[in-house]
């Protein structure tokens, strides 16, 4: 008697499991692209023609990239899809282990109907750690750019009113939240728009996590600007301002 009472519940559970099982492959398929390890990519490059795209900014891409790469920033990838051949593998990579930018670009490629789309697993750091070489087309000589820590930023900016904050993050991130008075030129546009920056001000360069501001600051320093940067980027600022315990 008791088992009969619970039978509808059992059936409902089984149906739920079956439904979850049935949609799992389609969720995986929705991603539509695969990851490729650095060693495998190196083999491919030796054996076949493929399209290799660095989705970092142009400044970063020309500074250092895997030999033979095209430079198409993630933000401009959708508009440049037509220039990518469809008869070969497309491998996208960026400069972080999380590969967020590559993944966004890969999603766009899949949406556009491209097959054989790959993302370099763990990005260029993995490629470098594996000992594979890079090429520098237009290397930005690194300058000794000083940094300011998040906890000292406010006081530092008060003491140095000649500085203006330059936020090089993507526009949407800047619009979501930014430091008071910050200008925004996303890094992928910096090589075209740096002349918009006030010549009479010094620049405090701010990025997402502190990994990209050094190169941007070096680039601007070569253009004659006096530059500083926020150590750890907006992530460090948020962590500090929210009072979170930071990993040392």
């Amino acid at each position: 008697m008791n088992s009969a009472r619970f039978r509808p519940l059992l059936h409902a559970c089984l149906l739920l499991v079956a439904f979850a099982w049935s949609i799992t492959p389609s969720v995986a398929a929705a991603q539509g692209w695969k990851k490729v390890k650095a060693e495998t990519l190196n083999d491919w490059l030796e054996k076949e023609q493929l399209t290799l795209v660095n989705v970092m900014s142009r400044i970063e891409c020309l500074d250092h990239r895997i030999a033979g790469s095209q430079c198409i920033a993630c933000e401009e990838f959708k508009d440049n899809l037509s220039s990518i051949p469809r008869d070969r593998k497309l491998v996208l990579y960026c400069e972080s282990e999380a590969c967020t930018r590559s993944c966004l670009a890969a999603d766009e490629a899949v949406k556009a109907g491209m097959k054989d789309v790959y993302v370099l697993e763990a990005g260029m750091p993995a490629w470098k750690a594996a000992g594979f070489p890079l090429e520098s087309v237009q290397r930005v000589p690194r300058m000794y750019v000083q940094s300011v820590k998040a906890g000292e930023l406010t006081a530092w900016l008060d003491r140095h009113p000649e500085f203006v904050v330059l936020d090089i993050r993507a526009r949407d991130r800047y619009e979501k939240d930014h430091l008071k008075g910050a200008l925004n030129i996303p890094l992928y546009q910096l090589h075209e728009r740096y002349h918009e920056l006030p010549q009479d001000r010094s620049l405090m360069v701010v990025d997402d996590q502190g990994f990209r501001s050094f190169l941007a600051a070096s680039y601007l320093a070569r253009k004659g600007f006096r530059v500083m940067r926020l150590f750890g980027g907006m992530a460090a600022w948020k962590s500090y301002s929210e009072g979170k315990r930071q990993v040392k």
Binding site: D63, H64, E95, S96, E97, A98, M124, P125, K128, A129, G131, L134, E135, S136, Q138, R139, P141, R142, Y144, V145, Q146, S147, V148, Q209, G210, F211, F214, L215, F231, G232, G233, A235, A236, S239, G243, R245, Q246, V247, K248
Partner: protein, 612 residues
């Protein structure tokens, strides 16, 4: 004159290349274009002067293309000569994440001369060109380095020089590794006795830290859950506690502790982060607690382990004599009445004991990985529980179960003393009655009798319902509940506890909780196990606590006074029960043997740690 020699040198180097495009450019030297001091006089005086231009800039194979500006050389591969550094650098954060090359830090590569300054000072000068850590420059470490102290930490000592790890302030992908990495860096120096003595610093701070809750959780592999070195001492601005700028200066402690803890009373900061239990001048309460707990452990185990050993000797020898003389076990000669089972423990008491076993093992297996966090098995045991947070949760659940059991027993005791209807009437008689667990003069006589029996000086005492060792087990739990339970409750929420007691009491509570746990666990796994199960008459186990009944013959043998009393009072009939069923016996044996084996295994692990 010197310039002529250099030009000649470069021509020879270029000739050595012997490639055709290079040969077309031989009419000129590198210095004709690169004529700055860095490439001429500066280079000639540098440590790299013996190298030619192309030995480093080896990718310039088409000189004409280079000279016309069409070919820009790639960054130099210094690893051709500096192979080990290159190998280290391949994992360097600056390379992996920001693509720094050798020249980006060593921009003086063409003019670099043999080092005349201290390497640590040069490192600080180099790193602070980008990392403007004013806080480090004013720190105790920097001050010592600048005074020429080679022991004090410069940038490279904590972060590495060419093998700077991919740990970054904002990189949340490696919190555990980063913490462990930097904690280890601090420990590597501050645990070095010779180095600390050389610098007039305590070489025990690491050892003392590892005895605290922070140190134990960190040691068992969950560094992000607790304060590591840098959380209290900060990262770069490390200063002695006497300096008002120091994070551990008394005026700054509330803010410092407040970075992790919230909602505490100001006396919370009296907590000692590196307490020395042996220092009676600076930590008198801890010292007294340490001496008391150590004394309690030593006294308890010396008495009971000796008692156990003597008991085993006597029982084993007696059994041997019976076997030698062909005397059969008593139950082979008994009549049917002797097989009849009588109840000793009620169903509720048996259920409570099973719950007690489960909660006790949960407490031991979740708590001891912290106590002995350095033991190889600690991380494994903690991993089996799913990590420190999960182990902590189960520890607290088991503690609540134990406290509820304790409360039930306390209520039952009160009901025994002051039963409904009788109240206080005759309560002293009940208190000292044979059914009471309260000690009485007979227990003292029984102890003396047992000792005489151990040494063949008399007969084994005739016990009533409760023997003195069973009463000790019972009262030990009561004491244990106050010691271990009280300290545990204080430690459960240390911030809240600071409204009741100052922070140093939490240090005392930690010590009491830890030592009392060892006392309880070892006592149960050795003394209680022997007295109840491993004594030769009952080995390998007595299932009485699980089945609740035993044969009248066993009652007669183990508790003759109780048997005689029950017979005289005519109560034996009402205690008679059916022989336990097979399923009950199997379940009893399974739970009992599993508990015994687990307890013995844990004892081996504890003794392994204590001995090693």
């Amino acid at each position: 004159m010197r310039r002529t020699h250099l030009s000649l040198f470069f021509v020879i180097v270029l000739l050595a290349g012997s490639q055709a495009p290079v040969a077309t450019a031989l009419a000129r030297t590198c210095q004709d274009c690169h004529y700055g001091a860095a490439y001429t006089t500066g280079f000639a005086a540098s440590v790299h002067a013996k190298n030619g231009c192309l030995s480093c800039h080896s990718d310039i194979t088409d000189m004409a293309s280079h000279m016309t500006g069409n070919y820009r050389p790639s960054p130099v591969n210094c690893g051709k000569c500096h192979a080990q550094i290159a190998m280290d650098y391949q994992k360097n954060f600056h390379y992996l994440q920001e693509d720094f090359r050798c020249v980006d830090c060593h921009q003086d590569v063409h003019t670099r001369t043999k080092a005349t300054k201290d390497i640590k000072i040069r490192t600080i000068e180099k790193c602070t060109q980008c990392h403007g850590n004013e806080e480090y420059v004013t720190s105790g470490h920097a001050e010592a380095v600048l005074k020429g102290n080679h022991d004090a930490a410069a940038c490279g000592d904590c972060h590495g020089l060419h093998n700077t790890r991919v740990f970054h302030t904002s990189l949340s992908a490696y919190p555990e590794e980063a913490r462990m990495f930097y904690n280890e860096k601090c420990i590597s120096c501050h645990d070095d006795t010779a180095m600390m003595q050389r610098n007039n610093l305590s070489d025990k701070v690491v050892e003392y830290y590892e005895e605290t809750y922070h140190g134990k959780v960190q040691g068992v592999g969950f560094a992000t859950l607790v304060a590591g070195c840098a959380d209290c001492h900060q990262t770069h601005n490390i200063l002695p506690k006497t300096d008002p700028r120091s994070s551990i200066h008394p005026d700054n402690l509330a803010a410092n502790c407040g970075r992790c803890h919230t909602g505490f009373h100001r006396r919370f900061v009296d907590y000692k982060a590196h307490p020395d239990y042996h220092d009676r001048h600076n930590y008198p309460a801890l010292f007294i607690t340490f001496v008391f707990m150590t004394g309690l452990l030593v006294f308890t185990f010396v008495f009971f382990w000796t008692h156990t050993l003597l008991w085993w000797r006597k029982s084993y020898w007696e059994k041997h004599e019976r076997e030698k003389e062909g005397i059969l076990p008593e139950n082979c000669m008994t009549d049917k009445e002797g097989f009849q089972h009588v109840q000793r423990f009620s169903r509720a008491e048996r259920a409570m004991h099973v719950l007690l076993i489960l909660s006790f093992f949960t407490l031991v297996t979740t708590g001891f990985p912290l106590k002995y966090h350095k033991a190889p098995w600690a991380k494994i045991l903690m991993g089996l529980w799913g990590g420190a947070p999960m182990a902590g949760l189960f520890h607290r659940i088991a503690a609540v179960v134990l406290m509820v059991l304790f409360a039930v027993v306390a209520v039952r005791c009160l009901l025994f003393l002051f039963p409904p209807g009788l109240g206080f009437k005759g309560w002293t008689d009940r208190l000292f009655s044979p059914d009471s667990l309260f000690p009485r003069m007979k227990d003292w006589e029984d102890i003396k009798g047992m000792i005489r029996w151990f040494f063949n000086k008399g007969e084994k005492p005739k016990f009533d319902r409760w023997s003195y060792w069973e009463k000790f087990d019972f009262w030990a739990v009561f004491w244990g509940m106050f010691a271990i339970g009280g300290s545990g409750v204080l430690l459960w929420n240390p911030e809240l506890s600071s409204y009741i007691v100052p922070g140093w009491v939490l240090n005392v509570a930690t010590l009491v909780h830890s030592e009392e746990a060892l006392l309880a666990a070892l006592f149960i796994f050795t003394v209680h196990f022997f007295n109840t199960h491993f004594v030769p008459d009952k080995f390998p186990m007595d299932r009485l606590i699980f089945t609740g009944t035993y044969a009248i013959d066993d009652l007669k043998r183990d508790r003759p006074e109780e048997y005689e009393r029950l017979m005289a009072e005519g109560k034996i009939e009402e205690l008679k029960r059916e022989h336990p069923s097979i399923p009950l016996k199997l379940i009893s044996a399974t739970i009992g043997l599993a508990s015994l084996l687990l307890g013995l295994a844990l004892t081996v692990l504890f003794i392994w740690v204590i001995v090693t």
